[in-house]
């Protein structure tokens, strides 16, 4: 619905964004792919010879890779389960009539706005510290041995911290979705004789399904690249008990200066993310047509 003139103007106005993003996509990613085939270590500046898939072979056969991959999956799945289940419950709770709903919503959403380094450090020091933490005190009150969360259950602890950051996101989105449910639909079902339980199963749940999918997909994108929380709490340890793929790539390339190996890991991370991305894009793309 437009004229030649406006189409030409549109092309002109869209091009800066497209060109910039294209460069941002193509150049570094191209370089990563290129590096991943090289024997390139910053400590050995001279030799950049082509070594084919050796970096991939090296990265993938490293026992740490399997650990990191499992850790990544556990971290993503753990947080997803906690936040979606918790988010649905929270949304249902917040959607009920109560006093001070607005304030409660503000309290619940707050953790999402806390920068990752702050939340990780607050949890690490003030809650999970085995001597001075609040949890240690609570355990003491209950007569349980103090527990060094980050040393004895590092991955679990990180899952807790990340879940605290993301639960508000899930709750807020699901609450918004819940509130957009047409009340006439519920009333129609009531007139049709559906019980409260059937109304929930046949109307509310289907209505929420799409939003739950969106929550899961978007969180997955972010959770696959969790970094700061690990960086400031466990540094991937003890050993590599809490190392995920991003952290492993970081340590490979910036701590061990192995550019080639780190690049190969980067490409693997891109492939993993793309698998999720394809599903997410389908979802959003469908929505675009509606």
């Amino acid at each position: 619905m437009a004229t030649q003139h406006s189409r030409a103007a549109a092309r002109l106005m869209i091009s800066p964004a497209v060109i910039l993003l294209f460069l941002w996509m193509a150049v570094p990613l191209g370089m990563t792919i290129y590096f991943s085939f090289l024997n390139y270590n910053l400590l050995i500046p001279s030799a950049h010879n082509f070594i084919g898939l050796q970096n991939y072979d090296f990265f993938v056969t490293d026992p740490a890779f399997v650990t990191a991959l499992v850790n990544t999956l556990v971290l993503v799945l753990g947080v997803l389960v906690i936040t979606t289940v918790g988010g649905v419950l929270m949304a249902l709770l917040l959607d009920r009539p109560m006093w001070g709903q607005g304030i409660v919503r503000i309290l619940v959403i707050a953790p999402f706005f806390v920068m990752p380094t702050v939340s990780a450090l607050v949890w690490k020091n003030m809650f999970m510290n085995p001597v001075n933490g609040i949890f240690a005190w609570v355990f003491h009150l209950l007569g349980i041995q103090p527990f060094d969360f980050l040393a004895q259950a590092p991955l679990f602890s990180i899952i807790m911290i990340v879940s605290w950051e993301w639960l508000p996101f899930a709750a807020l989105i699901l609450l918004t979705a819940l509130q957009s449910l047409d009340s006439e639909q519920i009333e129609a079902a009531e007139m049709d004789g559906a019980s409260a339980f059937s109304r929930f199963i046949y109307i509310t749940v289907p209505h929420l399904t799409r939003s739950i999918t969106v929550v899961i997909l978007i969180q997955t994108i972010f959770l696959l690249s969790i970094f700061a929380e690990i960086y400031v709490t466990t540094n991937g340890g003890p050993g590599n008990a809490s190392t995920n793929i991003p952290f492993m790539i970081y340590s490979q390339s910036l701590l061990q200066f192995d550019v080639g190996g780190g690049s190969a890991g980067g490409i693997i991370a891109v492939i993993l993310a793309n698998i999720v991305a394809i599903f997410l894009m389908r979802m959003i793309g469908k929505n675009l047509e509606a």
Binding site: M1, A2, T3, Q4, H5
Partner: protein, 333 residues
């Protein structure tokens, strides 16, 4: 001045030809209505004239000058949109002033023209309100006000009344017609409502699938529809069509007779039938009769009140000189 000529105008969206080559002359000062069912291309045609869409081929001339490649702003046309398209962040005054501001009209002149438009449209008390605070009819007037201050060569109306309720629609219909008499500026008006077309137009252009089916004054279209489509589209209730031996008796494939040209009798007549629904409007009664002999449902218009009931047996007789005859292709004979 506002004479608009379309010469062999074609519009394609991709491969789809929504308007095949079309010629049309609109004289200065004429009130022309484009009417047709939804999707017939009437709005597209209006947008082509406005310059909001490019023609794929052909020429558009305004006052004899080629306007095909002119931007909308350069065509000296004003448009009233279906949604009114008022600027929600501006007051009524600023809405009406906007085209003047764009044209660089000086301030005093702007004020003068706004005041006179507001007076003509009963908007003087609302000049400092925003569109959101106005009723549908008032918004409509603002949209018209914004169009008239420019003193354009022609006004384009895109289904302007379809968002109003029935009572307001009749009122605005009169106001727009009155406005046309006062300004004597060319107006092109798009609607799917044949009543609006019949009541407002000097000239009606009936469109179907981008093709002009007939151009003429309302009464020409009523009296001598050139084909079955126009015959069925113009007039309310719709014309009754009969095929078969009754048509053959008139040397035609199909004959049509308007409901107001059928006599209804309880005793005798040409066709027999059973009364279905009768709609009592007070001034008229529309009686739907299920005829015998496979002619189907016929509608009859009877003046005043008529005492018929569901299930009554009645007889229908068409007025011989008001019968329209059509061939197999649906063209008038």
């Amino acid at each position: 001045m506002g004479k608009i000529s379309l010469k062999q105008v074609v519009k394609k969206f991709g491969e789809v030809e929504v308007i095949p080559p079309l010629d049309l002359e609109i004289e200065d000062g004429e009130f022309v209505v484009f009417v047709g069912p939804s999707g017939c291309g009437k709005s597209t045609l209006l947008r082509l004239i406005a310059g909001l869409e490019d023609v794929s081929d052909g020429r558009i001339e305004i006052d004899g000058k080629d306007a095909t490649d002119l931007a909308p702003a350069e065509r000296r046309l004003a448009m009233v949109f279906q949604s009114y398209a008022l600027y929600p962040h501006m007051t009524v005054r600023k809405n009406i002033a906007f085209p003047l501001k764009m044209a660089g009209v000086d301030h005093a002149e702007q004020e003068r023209r706004i005041a006179s438009a507001a007076k003509a449209l009963n908007l003087t008390d609302y000049l400092d309100r925003r569109p959101g605070q106005l009723s549908g009819g008032q918004r409509q007037r603002v949209a018209i006000g914004r169009a008239i201050v420019r003193e354009p060569a022609a006004f384009l109306f895109d289904e302007p009344l379809s968002n109003l309720d029935a009572a307001l629609r009749v009122g605005m219909r009169l106001e727009i017609t009155e406005l046309h008499h006062r300004l004597a500026t060319t107006m092109i008006y798009v609607t799917h409502d044949q009543v609006e077309a019949m009541t407002m137009a000097d000239k009606i252009v009936v469109l179907r699938a981008g093709v002009v089916e007939q151009v003429g004054s309302p009464l020409e279209l009523y009296r001598t529809p050139q084909n079955l489509f126009v015959a069925g589209f113009i007039g309310s209730p719709k014309m009754n069509f009969v095929t078969g031996k009754d048509a053959a008796a008139h040397d035609a494939h199909t004959i049509g007779v308007r409901p107001e040209h059928v006599k209804l009798s309880k005793d005798t007549g040409h066709w027999a039938g059973t009364v279905g629904v009768s709609e009592h409007l007070g001034s008229d009664t529309f009686v739907h009769v299920e005829t015998e002999g496979g002619l189907g449902l016929m509608t009859v218009r009877v003046d005043g009140e008529m005492d018929v009931h569901h299930g009554d047996r009645v007889f229908l007789t068409p007025e011989e000189d008001k019968i329209h005859r059509f061939d197999e292709k649906g063209q008038r004979l």
